[in-house]
Every structure is written in C-alpha cells, then in structure tokens.
Symmetry: C2
Subunit: 289 residues, 2 copies
Amino acid sequence: MSEHRVDTVCIIGTGLIGGSLALAIRQAGFCKEIVGAGRTEATLVKAVELGVVDRYDTSISNAAEDADIVVVCVPLGSMHAVFEQINAAEIENTIITDAGSAKQSVIDDAGFVFGAGFRNFVPGHPIAGTEQSGVSAAFPELYQNRRVILTPTENTSVDALEKVRAMWQSAGAEVETMSAEHHDLVLAGTSHLPHLLAFGLVDCLNNLEDVDEIFRFAAGGFRDFTRIASSDPIMWRDICLSNRDQVMMMMRRYSKEMEKIYRALEAGDGEKLREIFERAKQARDAFCG
Amino acid sequence: MSEHRVDTVCIIGTGLIGGSLALAIRQAGFCKEIVGAGRTEATLVKAVELGVVDRYDTSISNAAEDADIVVVCVPLGSMHAVFEQINAAEIENTIITDAGSAKQSVIDDAGFVFGAGFRNFVPGHPIAGTEQSGVSAAFPELYQNRRVILTPTENTSVDALEKVRAMWQSAGAEVETMSAEHHDLVLAGTSHLPHLLAFGLVDCLNNLEDVDEIFRFAAGGFRDFTRIASSDPIMWRDICLSNRDQVMMMMRRYSKEMEKIYRALEAGDGEKLREIFERAKQARDAFCG
C-alpha cells in the first residue's frame, strides 16, 4: 500500500459516508492531511471538533486544489454542481472519486463537466451505511470487510484507479471493479428496490385508519423489515431518479412476482404459495447465512 | 395471579412458540405439570430431554383429557384436525386456547368442532417469534414484554378468558383483547403483508441471471429487510390462506401505493418521491423509535 500513500485527501460532504472514510484513512495513515469541504459550515466545524478532518474550507474549489485525491460524498443530485466547483480549480493532477449509490449518472455528470477524456475520475460506491446520517454518526470501522465497487470507465487511468483502490483498502474494505451498468442493475435489485418497498409499506399503513393501533402491534420482524424506511428521503429521491431505468425495470419485475402470489392466494393455491415461499427461504438462507 | 394457577397445562405442538411458553410458565410456577403432545414423537422426546415438558403423550386426546388448559401451537392448517382429536376426549372442564397468527379462521374451526355454544375456547395470538423454529430454538424469555392478543367470542366465558390471560402474563407478556376481525386486519398489515413482500423480493431476485453475484453485493439493509423470508414456508402458507381476504385487501392497497411511486419515478417527479419517503420516514421513526 505504501507506494500509493498521498499527502492530502479532500472529503466533500463530511456526513456518515465521508466522515467515516476520513476517520478510517487517518487511522490507517493513508495520508498526512484531511481537508473537509461542503455546503454547511456548521457541519464542517463539527467535523473538525470531532477530529474527523484536520481543517476545512467552505470553498470547494480551494479545498480541491490542494488535494491529491478528492472524494465526493454528497447526494447524487448534488454531484453535478460539486463537480463544477471542483473544475473551477487547477485539478490536472488531482484524482477525483465519489461514493454515489448509482454509477452511470455520476459518470455522465463527470463526463459533462470534466470532459469525456478526463483520466483522473474513478467512480466508486462503498456498500456500507446505516439508516443514520450526519457527521456525528461517522465511525472508523464502517468499511471494515465491506465491499467497495469501483466502476472505471474506458478513460480512467490505471494510476488513478490503483490509488483509489488503495485508499478504500486502507479503510478496511474489499474493493472490486465492474461496469457501471452491471453495478446499477445489481444495486437496483438488492438496495434501491428494497428501499422503495419499505418506504411504500410504511406510507401505505400510515394511510390506514387507526394507524397508531396498527404500528403498536408491529413485532420485531416489522421493525427489521422497515428499518430502511428510516433512511434519508433526499438521498433516496436522488438515488431513484439517478438509477431510474433500472429501478423501474426492477419494480415491474417485482410487480409481476406479487401478481403471481396474489393470483395463487385468490385461487387458494396453497401448493403454489408453499413453493414460492420455500424457494425464497432456501435462496435467502443460502446467500445471507 | 395465584387464584388462576392450574395443575396441568397441555401444549400441543412443542416448537418455538409452544416450547417457549412451556419454559416460561414453568419458570413462573403457573402450573404443576406440563404435558406435551404432537405428531412427531422425536420432537416430543427432545422436548422432555430439554426440560421443556415434563412428559408427553402421542395421543392428543389422552394428553388433553388430563389438562386444565390445552394450548394448541400448530400451523393454522392443522388446527381443525387437532381440535377434532381434542374433542374426542372428555373436555367439559378443559380450557382450550391457541397461538395462531390469524384468528377468525381458528374461531370458525373451533365453532365447527366444539359447537358454537362452547364457552371454554379462548382464541389467542402471541406477537412474538423469530425466523427460527423448532423446540431447540425455544427460550423462556420469548414473551417478556411482548404483546399477546386474545380475541374472545361472544360465547367465551370470563373464567376461561382470565385463566388464559393469567397464563400469558405469567410468561411475561402484556395481554390485550380485541375482536378477531380487527386483529386480522392489523396483522395483515404489520405482519402478513411484509412476509409476502419479503418472500416475493427474494424469489424475484432469485430468478435473475447472475443471482450469486446479486446476493453477494447485498448490504446489511438487505439482510434485515429479507430476514422474514427465512420463515417457515408451511406456516406462512397457512397464515396467508387463513387470513386470505384481509391479506388480499392489503396487497391491493400496497399495489396502488407502489403504482403511485412508479408513476412519480416515471414522470421524474422528485418532489412527489421526497414527499412519500419523508412521510414514511417520519411515521417509522415515530412508531418504531
């Protein structure tokens, strides 16, 4: 790893994701200095107080200019604007990476701002997080043994890729690469669709009469099932819009699956229901242990 | 409580639910003796070995005949047959209760077998459980501070109701009463529908290509969300069929909700999405803490 160590990392957006990365790479000695940047000065002050970053700059351009690696950890809807501010700086030798949950949309934003031939952009996505958010929720172990997916484009340079890989590895993550298209499909199924289903369930029950009564009798299974419905609404609005085609495709597939279950129930077809439940249980037990 | 203590409790079906009840009421000194009964002798032998029951009888009639309270903890599809075997015994002074997750269907079964005027049947449902099953998974704390819903009919005697209430209270549960209809509606929303959604999601993803790949990138949120898809398929087939009308109604409502989300996504209506997610997050945070 040592050959990939750098002097300065700039974290734009010091919430749970950016803040935890800062804490982890500091602990690992990956860089000499960590600079925070972002929209809200109060958050940056707190990030310094909590020892998450060494200093901050409210100008994203200034913060980016001094850095070897800039990590953009903002909601997907803010990527484009942040890239433009980064681009206002001298960034010829700066590696830029992100932590967005959808990848093609970020690649499009980066291509639009930095130009299609820009070699120092490494699209990335750490598969980690909790339903908490904000710098106070950050902790250095967040990425331990978690996967980080990098989706280099045909223009991404090997040097930039390897530096970003080393950064995440120093934070304890297992780094894999794949195409942005494949990433977006896989995440639509295992993350984006489940979040929509959970938000939808809670909103659906919330519209019923006697709603207090209904939630009062919810058991542990319901708590687990709906935990992701406590996630940040803005972040998830952006994820859904950014990965719209894949998410809509998954929603259509899911709707067909539920239609199949509904028809079996309507027909009183217990054998069909048992078969679906059994198949699901086996798959879940096999993959999630 | 002491006035409600009894000599013998018979548990039919010594799995997670019945076994944990046996362990809890024994610890509380609610009765002098616990007799197990059920279909599979190996399970009953194990229940004696684990100290869950004092003795067992493979004849449900014989086991029931000696008991003050008979608790039927079998899948909903087996209730009718078990009631018939109980009814073959002298049960004039025996209180019969159950732990089924849907209540109207059990009341119908009991009415059919014991006669509509039978006063000693107390329909019940402990809102507790894990995705585990079987007597080895049983533990005495399962019902501590959990809710148990009793849905007495117009024929249920006060004495029978109070004895069953005392039994669950001795196991640490908070007991409430409501109508079977209301119970079935509430549980369709908070338990039966979520289980169907989870089974459906895993089965849907399992049908995709590269399924191993897809599950490999599932994060903690997915694990929590799909935990209930590891539940027992037979039990859930029976629950869905037994509470079919309410479950189908909830599925239709849910389908409309997801249609609304799909349309907002299709229209790129971020404000609508944010509004739904925000409402869901607030409701979930308020009710589940």
